[in-house]
Symmetry: C2
Subunit: 254 residues, 2 copies
Amino acid sequence: MRILAVANQKGGVGKTTTAINMATALAAVRKKTLLIDLDPQGNASTGLGIERAARKVGSYEMLFGAHDVAECILPTSIPGLDVVPSSIDLAGAEIELVTMTRREWRLRDALEGLSGYDYVVIDSPPSLNLLTLNTLVASQSVIIPLQCEFYALEGLSLLTRTIQRVQDTFNSGLDIAGLVLTMVDRRNNLSIQVEEDVRAHFGALVFKTVIPRNVRVSEAPSFGLPALVYDHRCVGSQAYMDLAKELLRRERQR
Amino acid sequence: MRILAVANQKGGVGKTTTAINMATALAAVRKKTLLIDLDPQGNASTGLGIERAARKVGSYEMLFGAHDVAECILPTSIPGLDVVPSSIDLAGAEIELVTMTRREWRLRDALEGLSGYDYVVIDSPPSLNLLTLNTLVASQSVIIPLQCEFYALEGLSLLTRTIQRVQDTFNSGLDIAGLVLTMVDRRNNLSIQVEEDVRAHFGALVFKTVIPRNVRVSEAPSFGLPALVYDHRCVGSQAYMDLAKELLRRERQR
Ligand SMILES: Nc1ncnc2c1ncn2[C@@H]1O[C@H](COP(=O)(O)OP(=O)(O)OP(=O)(O)O)[C@@H](O)[C@H]1O
Ligand SMILES: Nc1ncnc2c1ncn2[C@@H]1O[C@H](COP(=O)(O)OP(=O)(O)OP(=O)(O)O)[C@@H](O)[C@H]1O
Ligand SMILES: [Mg+2]
Ligand SMILES: [Mg+2]
């Protein structure tokens, strides 16, 4: 079982969109996949069509041990893809976790008993708080979505330093699966410039596949569907299928 | 002295861009303005050209009482606009605040001694954590930037409920100065649809001025300048000037 975090403290860079569509693409190539929504906003749960009323038992209950992980899992409309939804209770998790023992290990401990999945994909909130720390401690690899914008570039060194600290203190096996450029618009000089800088600095860690800005991708969540299901022919969906294939090629070379 | 929070827990909706350009527009019409960067990412400090090395004393030091607010203020290259920068120390503030007395009031208490400004604008991080709570408790009004996207719309009810709770428990004078639609692209149906929904639901609270998606706006931070200074003739800058004028008209009617 491979556990992948999707993380970047910069807001709005495509974490949720990447988590949902990568998880869907993996399920489409018959990898049994579980998506865990660890963001109190609950966007990944919404993007997979989970009604608010159905989120009574989810990632909050899993973190605080009230329920076994198996009891927090819901099926989605996509064959081979299940989800642990997030509810608003998770917004209070940060303050509750601070004074708990093993506060960085709660998610990793909760996933100990999990089986039956090839991949687990974890969506995290836009911050380097205890929820994101739990995600990094529980994961084997991190996928870093990166918008081709200046502020997004600025935050990268903080993120890579945090990953380094998690490797040193909590999870020596953690590695970076790759950086994926999102909402790319090759007609725009800033986007081209940022892509060049990132490839120059991170080299082969940057996936060759880029995700173009594509309005069909941002329409999909209002129907509770991944872009891959809402419109599998659009350029955004094709890009996410290509990204999943590129990830699987890298996985085979591990 | 009017204290305005710029807040929305959804990531990447244009909080920092709005805080910087509204503060610059207010300074341009001779309102002495202070921008406080309360986001550990420090994007507002970068967007105003403050070097990392110059951020040794800033919002972290102000919150934890090590320094008087006056000692945390730096000038910017824009006449009439000063800034309290943020440094990476702020990333640890959340955990430190949890166990402190008056943990929600730290910013409000720190600003008690401040004078000499017409406006204070506070940029907050993408979450409803103690830093954002401090911002809402310290402010008289909240400006809510909103991207015309589905996930951004989903988070609004959580934000307005949080503002209601702050009014009831900590700051009865807090009101919503307005919602401002950002990165608007009227060629895109989703954008039009979201704008219609928001205006139907929030009525006159939504500023008439909308901020269009404009690449010049996203280029400006790489030069450490507000869009209004980088390219005052571009449509994004014009929109932020219009927004500031609309805000001031509302202020006069208070
Ligand atoms: N390739 C794309 N083309 C167009 N729009 C996109 C694309 N990817 C994401 N979006 C839209 O951009 C916005 C931000 O994406 P998303 O919410 O996935 O980012 P995030 O990093 O998860 O945000 P947060 O930091 O709030 O968790 C969303 O409204 C989403 O629908
Ligand atoms: N009107 C606009 N046109 C084009 N790009 C914009 C516009 N406004 C903001 N941007 C860009 O969109 C990205 C997100 O904006 P910004 O960083 O201001 O949002 P934020 O809400 O402060 O993000 P965070 O949640 O991470 O604090 C930035 O790269 C910014 O340069
Ligand atoms: Mg998200
Ligand atoms: Mg910001």
